[in-house]
Symmetry: C2
């Protein structure tokens, strides 16, 4: 029996001494020009050319950041953008990250009613109920991540198929609780019986995760909590002591490693911190020389800053 | 300049005398055995075989229901389930429905922060900002629908890229307001300042749609409101008089055409009623003979029932 996602994550964080997740948000116009030129020369179809440039970029980024990160978080929107060829590039990113020894958090933010959520869960996590056709495809690739992000708006019966898949496949979920964008509070902070809405969502997330608790005290059902709202982050940490947080908002969105200190427990566990644009576009201009080194150094630096922040959280 | 989505929809409903949307939810195990056998004989890769069976099924369903429906609503989860080949089948469903003169509502329920929402909007609606590479692909196919469903959890800045794309491409949005599943109320009905949360979402949807109002008084920003909660449906109709409702829940989920009567205005506009499983699996067993006829008759019957419901709503 494969260890639970929560335990695999705790072990990876401890052995790699890293809480860093690198977000793969491959926006074509920001990729190094050499990669785009190469892909455009090789492919007539612009969608296939875009996907090829993205594949080359992902391969390089994964290679550079692998020593410093615990996971990658490919954002499927940037792949879906290019249709079926883009989805193939997403599958290859998943496979490449796994080969590099990294966990993969599929940032898909899916959510729907029961039977549809089952299809999404089968797509992104697989299913233990039947021989897994999706994983048996000719080239052996699939969309299957170790964990995915999900949207809670549908409530329990919308989450259940994802919870079932997480149990059957030893996978994980990160449910949106308090996001990092400027308008997040419009709905998420609305007052419900004296508490912001997102704390009610948090209570659901804790309940959903009860049966998926691993040996380190953490559940495989985690929460997405933005670093850009430090007060809410600290309060949610108190409400959800056994919940892994996936924390976006550091880097391009303005928060720093120090802002996420309160999210770590005394063992340095409990928080995964994502940076996407701050790392993968650390080279600035698409014309930059030695862009790989900029990516590597940005990952190394943030990994170290997060270790410091985690150690300062220890009493 | 292409007419707004809201106007194109109003004209289609009037000229076709139909408010019926047929949901394409192709679940492999429910497809007619003859189609699955054919696809399995032709393709070694199980994902490609699944996608081929789905393509054959979609082609037949679209042909049968085209005389009775105003739109199809492909649910992307059932395509994504099969990876890149599934996404190609989704693109072909979009193209086939357009060729049959139907509008296409992509049921994708995407939602994310700004730059990511831009990528989703470009994927599913296209963009008017740049030469549209995605629509120029070799085979001329794309994921682009006439409208898509979106999730409001991120608030205004998460919606803005979709609103921009809707304006630039004369496309539409249907924002989740009150869904049709049993657990919908867990979050959506939570009390906020004396009103259920979904009414606050409704107020946002009206505001988001203000600038996209067409000549029939309706906005291109619509709302998803389930038929399974008739009290909430009636109340939302009062709060949102200029908003197209996309109404799931009729058929397999238990609601009837009569339940949606209050959603129509006196011209028979304002409501699109979706049935997925109740129509596309009307034949019952995958071994059924003449399954096409069952699909056609189910579509014809529900179209008529909806016309009756719409006429009874007229004072």
């Amino acid at each position: 029996m494969k260890a639970t996602f929560a335990d695999r994550l705790a072990e990876a964080v401890t052995s790699r001494q890293s809480s860093l997740v690198v977000g793969l948000d491959p926006q074509l116009e920001k990729l190094p020009e050499e990669l785009r030129a190469c892909a455009a020369a090789a492919h007539v179809d612009p969608r296939i050319a875009a996907a090829a440039a993205i594949e080359a970029f992902d391969a390089a980024v994964i290679q550079e950041i692998a020593p410093f990160a615990v996971a990658v978080k490919p954002q499927i929107a940037y792949y879906e953008r290019w249709g079926p060829a883009g989805l193939t590039a997403y599958e290859h990113a998943v496979a490449r990250a796994h080969s590099a020894g990294l966990l993969v958090i599929g940032d898909v933010k899916r959510g729907d009613i029961g039977p549809t959520a089952e299809a999404y869960a089968a797509a992104h996590l697989g299913t233990g109920l039947a021989p897994d056709v999706a994983a048996d495809s000719e080239r052996g690739h699939s969309l299957h991540a170790d964990a995915i992000t999900v949207n809670p708006y549908f409530g329990t019966d919308g989450l259940q198929p994802f919870l079932n898949a997480a149990r059957e496949r030893s996978a994980g979920l990160f449910v949106l609780v308090r996001t990092s964008n400027a308008s997040a509070g419009e709905l998420q902070d609305l007052p419900v019986r004296g508490q912001p809405l997102h704390e009610h969502v948090a209570a659901r997330v804790v309940a959903w995760g009860q049966e998926l608790r691993g040996s380190h005290g953490y559940s495989s059902v985690g929460a997405v909590v933005g670093a850009t709202a430090p007060r809410e982050l600290a309060r949610l940490r108190e409400c959800m002591p056994g919940t892994w947080f996936l924390i976006p908002g550091v880097g391009a969105q303005g928060a720093t490693a120090a802002d996420v200190g309160p999210a770590f427990d005394r063992d340095g566990l409990g928080a995964l911190v994502n940076s996407s644009r701050g790392i993968i576009y650390a080279y600035g201009s698409p014309k930059a020389d030695d862009w790989r080194r900029s990516v590597r150094e940005a990952a190394s630096r943030l990994r170290d800053e997060l270790r410091t922040a985690a150690m300062q959280a220890t009493p």
